[in-house]
Amino acid sequence: MNGAPAVKVTYREAVRAAMREAMQRDARVFLMGEDVGRYGGTYACSLGLLDEFGPERVRDTPLSEGAFVGVGIGAAIGGMRPIVEIMTVNFSLLALDQILNNAATLRHMSGGQVGVPLVLRMATGAGRQVAAQHSHSLENYYAHIPGLKVLAPATVEDARGMLWTALLDPDPVILFEHATLYGTEGELAEDAGAVPIDRAAVRRAGRDVTVVGYGGTVAKALEAARMLAERGIDAEVIDLRTLRPLDDETLVASVRKTRRAVLVDEGWKTGSLAGEICARLVERAFYDLDAPIARVCTEEVPIPYPKHLEDAALPQPGRIVEAVLATVGGRG
């Protein structure tokens, strides 16, 4: 991208490199969460950081999300730049009170006097057979809340670059890392650094239909686009990157071009982010649409444990292809 040689890295390594760089650059930055220190992180993202930065800056916490997120908020108010890791979004609900009632509201309630520059990282999503209490996609819960920024890095470049930009933000930012991505590999420039967090990205340009995904569904959308290309259908794939605030301009511009949209969301369809995007497209691009907007979401069940049922419950490339074919109608 910028001429520096590219190397293969895993998503996990990119997250780790981002945290290491942040702690090197700014003494106010520290990492806190369950098992982030001695164990090296549930997903091994912080492996080695305890040795490198010491227990003051890489802190293991009790299994008490409400408490340690609250501590993170306090530290942020006090001038620190905490990175707080929550093991999965399911568990973050224990800290929802802190996130919604404190982190997201204090700037507003203090007339601008008190900001909470907190960064929350948490794993999300299904696909690893860890059953219903560890697998849900609840990004839309947080994307609903004014006062938060919500990010979903889907590539190694974003895993590497979004954290620093988030730390620079004067208000709370949540990063959702899809748990199936940690082991995936991607090309990353050796000198890769911070990236903007205010725009969606067109991951594949196309003219027949816009397929929108984020986090764990971007790769599935790209795979579906590859399968569609074999049938002569040219799909554009958009990676939302930022779930709040949504980048309406990129979405609307794409749909104005392709006139069709298929929204892929690992959340449940009812009340989903896909539903919100659908509404915005209808509000802003109604007269450009050439087919009803389609959504490919997770089946409305708690995520099943057995692999075949889990696979069947989640959006998959085959289901995305079917939705696109139904959308393009006779052309398919």
């Binding site: 109604f286 649409l289 050439d290 959308t327 393009v328 109608g329 006779g330 052309r331």
Partner: protein, 385 residues
């Protein structure tokens, strides 16, 4: 509930002549409806099998309400097998079309009832509308330069047909004319116009003009029609959503029959503001392009008043059907030599019968008569046209 008159908002279903499961064929009387004007037998437009009666006798329902659903015979055969797919959506009351398709149809003046849908559930897509009215082909000398730009703006999905689809055109004419006769209360007037001054002027003009610059009587008639329309604005414009919107410009639709069948009525723009020579050039250009199937979409969509000229076929007078949403149609018959009394003397003069069919919601016979009088007046002073 069909609209059985432009002023009908609702009707009372009095009686069903069919029951669920009955086979019906197009044209059968299936129900009786009471309107303000009395009892009306309701015919069915599609053959098939009655699926369900949705409105009970005695109910008064608004126009547009679904009265009953039918299946085609094919669908019935399928239904006999174990159902594996969700049932097809009920036949929509109006053509199912995407917002983008509707937008384009409005821009190009395409009646969606005449478009075959290929989208999801048979919905009409933008490409389907483009199929019926292809974008104008660029002139050959500029084709290369322009193609690149077009592809940047909107990549064409399918090669566009070079000529209009005759079946689609027939359906479009059917839909448009049926709508006209259903909705527009036409009134008709005619007047014989002495052409001796015009033809004498033309003969003199053409004698000194090279072949390529010669004028046709049609050019004089079009210009005179446009000036008359400017004088009587109630015949020039559109009737939309219950309101007449007069047009400040006069874009004359010129009905041109295709020898293969069908007709088109593309527009010559701003005829009132052009010289006869310019009108002649436009008309010649237009007829040439109709013959080769290369009309422009703007010409197809926006005439404010249409002129039909069946005189070429020897017809003495034509009382035409107005193209909705226009509000009048001018008809010109064959110019013939006829006995003509003038100043107490009987002579033989070339005469044309000009007619106007006009929309009584917008104008009355008196205004229509003024229009024909103005047309006559202009044809008596061709040098001023």
């Amino acid at each position: 509930m069909p609209s059985l008159g432009a002023d009908m908002d609702a009707g009372t279903l009095v009686e069903w002549h069919v029951a669920a499961g009955d086979a019906v064929k197009r044209g059968d009387i299936v129900a009786v409806v009471e309107t303000d004007k009395g009892l009306v037998d309701i015919e069915i437009w599609e053959s098939g099998v009655v699926d369900a009666l949705l409105v009970a006798p005695g109910s008064k329902v608004p126009v547009g309400t679904l009265l009953a659903t039918t299946r085609t015979d094919g669908a019935r055969a399928q239904a006999a097998q174990p159902p594996v797919l969700p049932p097809p959506p009920r036949p929509p009351l109006r053509p199912m079309a995407s917002p983008a398709a509707k937008q384009l149809a409005r821009e190009r003046g395409v009646d969606l009832a005449a478009v075959h849908g290929t989208g999801p559930h048979g919905a009409i897509t933008r490409a389907d509308v483009e199929h019926v009215t292809p974008s104008p082909a660029p002139p050959p000398e500029k084709a290369e330069a322009r193609r690149e730009r077009v592809e940047e703006v909107e990549t064409p999905r399918e090669p566009r047909p070079a000529v209009l689809d005759a079946t689609a055109m027939r359906r479009a004419i059917a839909a448009s004319m049926a709508r006209s006769k259903r909705e527009i209360p036409h009134y008709y007037l005619s007047a014989d116009i002495d052409l001796s001054r015009s033809t004498a002027w033309l003969e003199a003009e053409n004698a000194r003009r090279p072949v390529e610059e010669r004028l046709l009587l049609a050019a004089l008639l079009l210009k005179a029609t446009a000036l008359a329309a400017r004088a009587v604005p109630e015949v020039n414009g559109f009737f939309v959503d219950g309101v007449f919107r007069p047009s400040s410009a006069v874009h004359l639709g010129v009905a041109v029959s295709l020898r293969q069948g069908g007709l088109v009525a593309p527009a010559i723009h701003d005829v009132d503001a052009r010289t006869v020579v310019e009108v002649q050039a436009s008309l010649r250009d237009l007829v040439g392009r109709v013959r080769t199937g290369r009309l422009r979409s703007s010409e197809m969509s926006d005439p404010t008043l249409t002129v039909t000229n069946l005189g070429e076929q020897g017809v003495a007078a034509v009382f035409g059907v107005i193209y909705p949403p226009q509000v009048a149609l001018v008809g010109l018959g064959k110019p013939l030599e006829r006995p003509w009394a003038s100043g107490g003397m009987l002579g033989v003069r070339p005469v044309v019968t000009a007619t106007i069919s006009a929309d009584h919601r917008v104008s009355d016979g008196h205004r229509g008569a003024l229009f024909l009088a103005a047309l006559d007046g202009w044809m008596q002073k061709p040098e001023a046209l």
